[in-house]
C-alpha cells in the first residue's frame, strides 16, 4: 500500500511545479510598480527651473484639480516621442502639466522646450535625481496623474496614444 502512495504524491508534486512554471512563463520579469504602493504624493521642496527659487509641494498641488507630473530630460530620446501628446494635453483646461527636469543640463533643457514647445505650467529641476526617487520613479520618462493629492495613475516610459486617450477619459 505504501508503495503506491509515494509515487502518486511525487507525481502530484511535480504536476504542481509544472503548473506553476507554466503560469510563471506568462508573467513579465520586468519591474512593474506594485498597485499597493503608497499613493499619496510626496511632500518635497522643489527648485524652480527658471530661477532656482524653492517652492513647497503644498503650493503646487491644489486638491481640486488634475495634475500630470512628468519626469523628463533633454537627453532622453523617448521623451521626444511623448512630447506631442503632452502638447495636446496642454490645450485641455482640466489638467495642469508639471515638469520635473531629471539630471539635465539647463541650457540643453531650455533649448529642448524652445524647439518642441513648453507643455508645462510649471517646471522644476531635479539635478541629482532625489526628488524622482521620492516619487518612486526610476527613470525618464515617467508620468503621474494626480487628483486630490493622490497618484491615481502612473505611466512608466513615454506616454503613447492609448495613454493619452485614457488620460483624457479620466479627467472628463
Amino acid at each position: 500500500m505504501k508503495l503506491k502512495i509515494t509515487p502518486i504524491i511525487i507525481i502530484l508534486f511535480f504536476l504542481i511545479i509544472f503548473i506553476i512554471f507554466f503560469k510563471g512563463l506568462k508573467n513579465s520579469n520586468i519591474y512593474t510598480p506594485d498597485l499597493n504602493l503608497e499613493k499619496k504624493i510626496p511632500i518635497l521642496v522643489y527648485k524652480s527651473f527658471e530661477n532656482n527659487t524653492e517652492i513647497v509641494s503644498e503650493k503646487i498641488f491644489n486638491k481640486k484639480r488634475f495634475y500630470l507630473m512628468n519626469i523628463w530630460a533633454s537627453w532622453c530620446i523617448p521623451c521626444r516621442e511623448e512630447h506631442v501628446f503632452l502638447m495636446k494635453l496642454k490645450k485641455d483646461q482640466k489638467v495642469e502639466l508639471i515638469g520635473l527636469n531629471y539630471k539635465d543640463n539647463i541650457t540643453n533643457a531650455k533649448k529642448f522646450l524652445k524647439e518642441l514647445g513648453n507643455p508645462y505650467k510649471k517646471v522644476f529641476t531635479d539635478v541629482d535625481g532625489i526628488s524622482s526617487i521620492s516619487w518612486g520613479a526610476y527613470g525618464v520618462p515617467e508620468s503621474f496623474l494626480i487628483y486630490e493629492n493622490k497618484i491615481i495613475k502612473r505611466y512608466i516610459g513615454p506616454i503613447k496614444y492609448e495613454n493619452f486617450i485614457e488620460i483624457e477619459k479620466i479627467i472628463k
Binding site: 519591474y31 510598480p33 506594485d34 499597493n36 539630471k103 535625481g129 532625489i130 526617487i133 518612486g136 526610476y138
Partner: protein
C-alpha cells in the same frame, strides 16, 4: 591644559573620521542589499546607472538625517515594493523561503539516522 585641548581635539577628529568611515560602510551595506530596479539582476551598489547613482545619494542623505538601516529599507519598500530588497524579510510570504531548506536539512538527517543507524 593645552595638552587636554589637543587631546580632545584629536579625539574629536578621530571620532569624526571614524563615524564618517562608518557611514560609508553602512551606505555600502545598504546599497548592496538593494536591487537596481532598472538593471538586470544587479545591486544598487554594483550598478552605475542613473537610478542607482541617485539612490545611493538618497541613502547617504537618509543616513545623515539619522535614519537607521531598517528605516531606510522600509522607506524604500514603501516607494518601490518588496522587490527592491535583496534580503527578503521574514513574513507570511517568505516563511517557506526561509524555513523550507532548514526543514529539508532536518528531514534529511532524520531519514539517514532512521535508515542506517537504528538497528531493527
Amino acid at each position: 591644559m593645552r595638552f587636554t585641548t589637543i587631546y580632545l581635539l584629536i579625539g574629536f577628529l578621530l571620532n569624526i573620521n571614524f563615524s564618517y568611515a562608518n557611514e560609508i560602510q553602512t551606505e555600502n551595506k545598504i546599497a548592496k542589499n538593494l536591487r537596481c530596479l532598472i538593471c538586470q539582476g544587479q545591486s544598487v551598489h554594483d550598478s552605475d546607472s542613473e537610478f542607482a547613482i541617485s539612490l545611493k545619494l538618497v541613502i547617504r542623505n537618509k543616513i545623515e538625517e539619522g535614519m537607521s538601516e531598517k528605516q531606510i529599507y522600509s522607506f524604500l519598500k514603501k516607494k518601490y515594493g518588496e522587490w527592491i530588497l535583496y534580503d527578503p524579510v521574514l513574513n507570511r510570504n517568505t516563511y517557506f523561503l526561509w524555513l523550507l531548506p532548514l526543514l529539508i536539512f532536518l528531514a534529511g538527517g532524520a531519514i539517514i539516522i532512521k535508515k542506517f543507524y537504528i538497528r531493527k
